[in-house]
Symmetry: C2
């Protein structure tokens, strides 16, 4: 049986040796099969990590929100037959605010070994840099867009921060950042601390 490796990719236009351990390149160079969120950007990432990589000899399959359970069984099949597999998402760590977890789940159900590699996570880097409580924190994904639901959700997260001292992290698409920031400023208590990482 092969092994499933979770391979973090780069955040933005950084160089590999800025945010990836040398060991990740060794692992990448040993893998013939990649399950990726987007084939084009995964190929670009692999060439950036190793400019001599024989990219056309590698097998690529797509894993995203639309991937069906039947498709998942097909994706894990080569691993059951002995081929190691690398999961790569668009930015940062596979399975963290990105596709990957469903394939890991099916790998565990088949007794396949899963190895996560170290790399950049925007969530973790933002939390470290914020100076907010890192003894208790939650990542909650996206905040609702509809005004009433949004306001209610922001208040709920603020309440959890106040009663449990739990830092609340969430993400937004770049073009929606400014409206979200305005809504946060209009809704949150003036004493609530806010950190924006981009």
């Amino acid at each position: 049986m092969g092994t499933v490796y979770l391979i973090p990719s780069l955040l933005g236009e950084t160089e590999p040796d800025h945010s990836l351990p040398a060991y990740n390149t060794q692992v990448i160079n040993s893998i013939p099969y990649f399950v990726v969120e987007d084939v084009r950007s995964a190929r670009r990432f692999l060439k950036k990590v190793n400019k001599d990589i024989d990219i056309d000899a590698l097998r690529f399959e797509v894993l995203n929100k639309k991937t069906s359970p039947a498709e998942l069984s097909r994706l894990i099949e080569p691993v059951l037959q002995g081929m190691s597999c690398g999961i790569i998402s668009e930015a940062g760590c596979p399975g963290i605010a990105d596709p990957g977890a469903v394939l890991v789940d099916i790998a565990h159900s088949k007794g396949v070994k899963v190895v996560p590699l170290v790399g950049p996570s925007s969530i973790l880097l933002a939390l470290m840099a914020s100076g907010f409580n890192g003894q208790s924190f939650a990542f909650v994904g996206y905040i609702p867009v509809k005004p009433n639901e949004r306001k209610k959700r922001i208040k709920q997260l603020e309440q959890r921060m106040l009663t449990e001292d739990q830092t609340q992290l969430f993400i937004e698409a770049p073009y929606r950042n400014l409206p979200l920031l305005e809504d946060l400023l209009a809704t949150l208590n003036p004493n609530t601390k806010l950190c924006v990482a981009c």
Copy 2:
């Protein structure tokens, strides 16, 4: 003014190039002043990263749970005077389930630039490897030790997992792992998934 760098250390007996980017070594080699959770293990870590480092030329100060606000002001002083500082905790990422956040907070209040570096986080690696939901998750630190409080807390976290589909992560001291596992098995619903990373 100097810069405050958050420098992840190693988890267990791994080699630096297994889990730290080459860039971290560059940064470490440029820093004269370290604020650390434990001086002895920080010195050992720095020598592991760079065996030729002139360790006795470096300045070390301690930051842990007992550090007072007055002490924090003293720790940030060299940075205000132009000396860059590296924060190093016992294992993994400073500020994440480890000391560091309070010094980052005071750095921000003084307008000091804070730079988090990439490195291993046991919390993130466990979540990636679990195959559990990484679109919504919480790290809640330690579970209470007293039986009644413990049972209540475990039930509360399970409820949050069920109602919000939020993965719940927590830690325990190694010698308490087995009793915790027994309590989890006795308290959780048989359908609740559990992943143990060690």
